[in-house]
Subunit: 216 residues, 4 copies
DNA sequence: TATGAATGAGCTTTCATTCAT
DNA sequence: GATGAATGAAAGCTCATTCAT
């Protein structure tokens, strides 16, 4: 049930402003699944409607256009990549203070691996659409700094001030972390999803890679 | 003239079997440019024909299908990502023996940065098509091991045997290198092509990142 | 109104599984008319759509392909060449027993002449497509034996056993009857539709021809 | 080598006015073969050119249009269906006078069966094109009466005057003969070419069929 | 003269979106 | 409101014919 999380997040992310019926949720989930399997351009609205047991007319009444279905379906991904990890980080630090780089990286890597596992379809679609979808890109590049990059920046700066992290510019460090994690996700879920993966071993190496580079 | 290299490589990569006229080259270059700007699915063959000053009929006589235009246009990328660096590496090692990790990484990073700079459009298209284009993916995943992964494997193993590189499994090391370099390419050419990039500084950091992780 | 019968037969032949709207019927009738006038290959789907006052999109949604329009439009011909005559033959024999060859031939010839008159367009298209349309041919050659040839075989065998018909092999007799009737149809409706035909006289001769050959 | 005869007849039929090179003959023969296999509309001029080892340019220089290739390729069939049989009939009657209906029908049927066997491809194409090709049809319907129908009329009238043939109108008799023979050709060469045919037995029956109907 | 590359109109089919019911 | 039939523009591709070499 790899898309369970996406569904669960809809209420939190979207329901604040809009009520989503079960069928409307089905449209969003089905869309992500079909887009992930075939690509956005190769998926017809008819196909979505049939798979979501909706009529095309009703679908367009609510979502207005195919592009908008994509946009709404990906919103949780864009909005929750960081907030989630922050919320859980807070809970974690309540249990025990996280005063070394290793513990932080271990938590962060495993947390995001879990997120990737639960949202693999949406992530694949997001990565691919980021390339050519001007609107999505614009939204992401304006939203990301606020609830994503800036939060990250604070955490990094904190580690650096405590002398626990290498004193490189933030963009370099930020890109490095994203690169290593995204590289894993692409390898694991997009290029070779059928390999026999040992997730724990993978986590260990990812943490080690990041630690070697980022430690002061 | 960012696509100069792609053009120059056509003779080497394709002309062995087929002579390409100027107009046929124009079709391939124009296609890559349009695909990079709009995406493959959002670019019509009519648009390509007009931009390449060709009639659609002639285009289809030579290239048979839109999918085949893409395939042929990307062939140099698939075939030459590694052979190029190897050839130049050989020339380089003739000048001075490369017996430490830093020198190798410095050469490798700068060489592939140049390659990326020269083939940015084709790389963008390649990355995006890798996600959903079954044929391209199949071709890449069968071609890559031979002229790409295996060569890499030998070089890595050599450094490891000499005790100059960390003793991690090859897939981990391989993915790490690819991730870091691809992360840079996406950042530099796809997400923020208009930023004021200091390529030399970027190279320095990339080399440092890789060296910290890979050194024994 | 030469295609009245074709239309009337759609309910019986097709409506069992699918309801046909008026416009869908119009597509089928118009197609047959255009195919009969210009040939299948020389008739564009656009032409059909305009003539049937339909949009091409709607047409394709229902009929899926041009080939399928042809197939569905000809189905009544393939399915009803013999069943019709049999049904009416049964009704006829209720009125008066048909115990000589002449009466049978007279009924059969006039009945099929009426069928040809009502379905001339479809018959022309059918004959021409039989030559090169692999699918139609395959369907006909598998359907025909069941509801066509075998029924005929029984009737012929019956007359032969009663000593009323020449003792030749069935394929010879079958082909002879079909040849003579088809020859008439081609002469009458395809080669010289504008001649001044005396249908009654034609029937008399056709019956005489068949009777001379087939009588014991 | 079923098309040998067609080729051999080209000199006689066409060379009087036009010289045909070997390659031009190849175009005509190949066309007929392809048209017979796939239909005229489904055969491209490119396909013909390749199969005949000709360039499309040269082909069009000589034949002007695809329609004209068909027309010229079928000319021998149209021109020689009857003249052939007449010439051989003359030779035959020199050996022994043919003063009964059976001998004439036997000669005629076997002679036309041989013709059909040698020109099966061209006959198939001719029959199919007769349906929709206005030009071919017009040519045939003006040419046929002169060198075909009228000759036939004379022979029939002669038999009738001698009291050897039924006293029916010529069109009825003519159509009957053509129908029976064409029915055989379609059965033998178009519908079921792969059956195990006993040509001698077929001839016997065809003669018997015609004799029963036509005898006085 | 012989060639085959070039042409562009026309083909069948798809699809996001609208609208009558 | 919900439906799915209807729309028609645009897609990829083919082809008979022309024309520069």
């Amino acid at each position: 049930m790899p898309n369970k999380k996406v569904l669960d997040e809809f209420p939190a992310a979207v329901n604040a402003t809009k009520e989503l019926t079960e069928k409307q949720k089905a449209v969003l989930i089905t869309s992500i699944q079909l887009f992930a399997k075939q690509g956005y351009a190769n998926t017809s609205t008819h196909q979505i409607a049939v798979a979501a047991h909706q009529s095309e007319g009703t679908m367009f009444k609510h979502f207005k256009s195919k592009a908008n279905i994509l946009k709404i379906a990906l919103e949780p991904i864009i909005q929750r990549v960081i907030p989630d990890v922050l919320a859980e980080l807070q809970q974690e630090t309540l249990k025990q203070p996280m005063d070394n780089l290793h513990d932080f990286l271990a938590f962060f890597v495993r947390n995001r691996m879990a997120f990737a596992d639960e949202n693999q379809d949406a992530i694949k679609v997001f990565l691919s659409e980021l390339l050519y979808n001007q609107d999505l890109r614009a939204e992401f590049l304006t939203t990301a700094p606020e609830n994503f990059v800036n939060t990250f920046r604070t955490v990094i700066a904190d580690f650096q001030q405590r002398g626990l992290m290498v004193d490189w510019p933030f963009p370099i460090i930020f890109r490095h972390i994203i690169s290593v994690l995204t590289g894993y996700v692409v390898d694991r879920y997009i290029l070779f999803p059928n390999r026999d993966w040992d997730d724990d071993q993978q986590a260990t190496y990812l943490i080690a890679e990041l630690e070697k580079v980022l430690s002061a």
